[in-house]
Symmetry: D2
Subunit: 267 residues, 4 copies
Amino acid sequence: MTSQAAATAIPDVQGSPDDRHIAIDKVGVKDVKHPFKLRTPEGGEIATVATISMYVSLPHHQKGTHMSRFMEVLGQHKDALRPDEVGAIAQEIRERLGACEAHLEIRFPYFITKHAPVTGAVGLLDCEAGFEVTATPTGVEMSMSVRAPATSLCPCSKEISARGAHNQRCDIEAQVWTTESIWIEELVEILESVASCPVYPVLKRADEKFVTEAAFDNPKFVEDTVRDLAMRLDKDDRIFKYRITSENYESIHNHNAYAEIAREKGN
Amino acid sequence: MTSQAAATAIPDVQGSPDDRHIAIDKVGVKDVKHPFKLRTPEGGEIATVATISMYVSLPHHQKGTHMSRFMEVLGQHKDALRPDEVGAIAQEIRERLGACEAHLEIRFPYFITKHAPVTGAVGLLDCEAGFEVTATPTGVEMSMSVRAPATSLCPCSKEISARGAHNQRCDIEAQVWTTESIWIEELVEILESVASCPVYPVLKRADEKFVTEAAFDNPKFVEDTVRDLAMRLDKDDRIFKYRITSENYESIHNHNAYAEIAREKGN
Amino acid sequence: MTSQAAATAIPDVQGSPDDRHIAIDKVGVKDVKHPFKLRTPEGGEIATVATISMYVSLPHHQKGTHMSRFMEVLGQHKDALRPDEVGAIAQEIRERLGACEAHLEIRFPYFITKHAPVTGAVGLLDCEAGFEVTATPTGVEMSMSVRAPATSLCPCSKEISARGAHNQRCDIEAQVWTTESIWIEELVEILESVASCPVYPVLKRADEKFVTEAAFDNPKFVEDTVRDLAMRLDKDDRIFKYRITSENYESIHNHNAYAEIAREKGN
Amino acid sequence: MTSQAAATAIPDVQGSPDDRHIAIDKVGVKDVKHPFKLRTPEGGEIATVATISMYVSLPHHQKGTHMSRFMEVLGQHKDALRPDEVGAIAQEIRERLGACEAHLEIRFPYFITKHAPVTGAVGLLDCEAGFEVTATPTGVEMSMSVRAPATSLCPCSKEISARGAHNQRCDIEAQVWTTESIWIEELVEILESVASCPVYPVLKRADEKFVTEAAFDNPKFVEDTVRDLAMRLDKDDRIFKYRITSENYESIHNHNAYAEIAREKGN
């Protein structure tokens, strides 16, 4: 008897009927770590590690889903998963699991090559990016998220103080629904453009002078950051829906300032 | 000149007008730690530490909110905040900030006195609970969340194996919208009742035998846990809306099994 | 048969002999959450939630320790554990477990009432504190840790820039071994005194002006922070050993600056 | 004037003398994320993301270290850092910073291709690995850490119960100092061999039956896990020093069981 035959002989508890008449919105595997590989605009490649959750809807009459199939689909990409496969994988999971809907959530660190603003000293800046996908019989809906670190400098502190101004690292995030794909690098640039100043991996003294003065000359409340970002995304016709946030790790408090705007265009 | 007068003379940058015509959904302070005190059903009190986020909506014409006022309102409760003050605080924040809406999110560890099932050995079980509040001119909407640890034992593993069955700690969570307040203790009991077995802080050998056999006799898929919980909440007339999840820290994998149901009754 | 008798009849697997001839340095329970209550210098009380780990050494000839006894000892303090009980509990665990050594590690958030520097606006600042205890047949050795948030402003950025200076939140921590007990409040004050400026829960505009200028007038590298702290602790005769660190959440980078000094006086 | 010349003209605050007479044990950058690439025993390659901390010692007479140089050294490996470069990088940092000692700490997720024990179904198991390096004028000392998830099944629960036995995921970790390099894969196999059973990414029903029974037939206390691991490492002549731990996420409690052994051979 082959192991396949042995497996067949084993009772399928998950496949048995269920009479509680309760459908489940999402069931599956959460927080799986997996290699993830993305092309860069320059034609290179970035290899990273994604945290992946995969769910399906379960109809009221079915006792359980088959958890191992999620991992089998992922296991077919054991060298690395790629963004252009994400939609197809959501559909494959939907079909392999016999489900009406499938959801994928993928998050990963991503690296941007940054040159210091004056000396050009080079290094990698780590951001965080992700995809969310919903697959249904009629197609796939997908959004991309990018979270970039930056500097925020307080307009009030600058205005009222005789010298200096408090400033701090902030994390700016945009989740966007688009009609065509956008490079992570492009979205990071947009996020950085609405901060007081970008942050950099390597800064020599001439660069540190530059970013200190640049941030001082460009103060932004957390409210300004999300508003300026909303204006940028409002003008971008590729984006029809977005949710944006900024979180400032205030240097004068032990708590964070936070702002959020969600918008669906045409509404 | 008093310091109050000095403060008055300082320009109010946040209060200046804004012409970007972009309203902000939520702006405020995030992840503030603060003492929190709750009454217990026995008439005692549990002191804990909450993580609190407080936001308001900001109209398009106002440049910034006044972050310090959130903390001032909280500072008036510096000995400890209580659940029955949460709604009033949301309204106070809404009014002090001149906002249309205010949101509060509060999470805290909570302790349940548990007696071991056979020997009665006593100890404290830590759960996690929370409140979410939205205040508007017409009133306050509030939900309570409770997350309890428990044991889940896999029905498939039990059915197909000659001996044993894989089991693991799981976290079961319910967010409920209710017509009257419910004790955290009561909701924890409901959550534990749909697991394979509760977990305990202290278990002597006679207790360990009991819980091992109890879990083995009561296998539950993550799907069963959320379905049985949905049935319990469906029958409870005090609850008109809920969102429930369970996450199993699978003992045979390095990833978690997860299920989720959200329901609004009358829909 | 009483449940006690039933328990006695159950085999004691942990108590059986072991012939691998390998002693275990530490065995016990990790990351237990438990209420913790501390007196304040003003005669009040602060209730918080501790994360506690409790270990004993295990001789080579004993198969296992009795995990439930750790939790039983803790369960006797179910209203709340107190700092002055920590040493006695370590000894009690050592004796109940029949061990040569017992170790306790306790960490908890702690709250300091802070008044804004100009307006006096009041609020609670959350720090983190802890105790580490080792009990042996000859006595108890104990250290206290306090970690306080503060502001650091970069001397290089200030010196080289035409205007402004980058600054950020930092976390300064001291673990101290002392000949007499020191209030957490006192240690927090020492930690804050070596930063560019303390942080505050509530700052009105006059206060924000004050702290912005104070930090600008008092720039500190992460190296300065730990050195100035070392000088303070070197002069304090109650402290015979310390380990101090500072971590700056750099506002111009996405990584942190860090410095550390450990010292045992008389060496 | 070139930007290099501009940089030279800017005052070097860090390079100025310090008269506090306090040397610093470690100063540098903490928690930098960076791509990391490792060869596999089969001749392939695994790309992952490391979290890196880099420190140097600072003599008492020097005001500050030059933080940007740490990042410049890392920036020279912007495609990815490799394990065989780690020692050389520690020495390069030591020399570039003019320090007596340099320390590197590197942690990263690592993926092991695992075949299910019966059906051979394939997937990736995520572990965590790392390196710690200290560079001095006389050479480099380096250790490797590997942390692998596994299943532990309680011998006491099995012995005293009429049916079943509680079991859970555990994390077993070994930090080893060796005379020659060891593959991560080899160390993971050793760690898995001392657990009740390995965990797997994909398990079909025949596999689930296998691992359930295998764990039931091989019960292990957390004490057994670290002792059996110590015996394995004691016999391995390539390893002259180790520190091993196991943490069991108990399925019957909301806290973890933990054990630890540290040993230097020849002592």
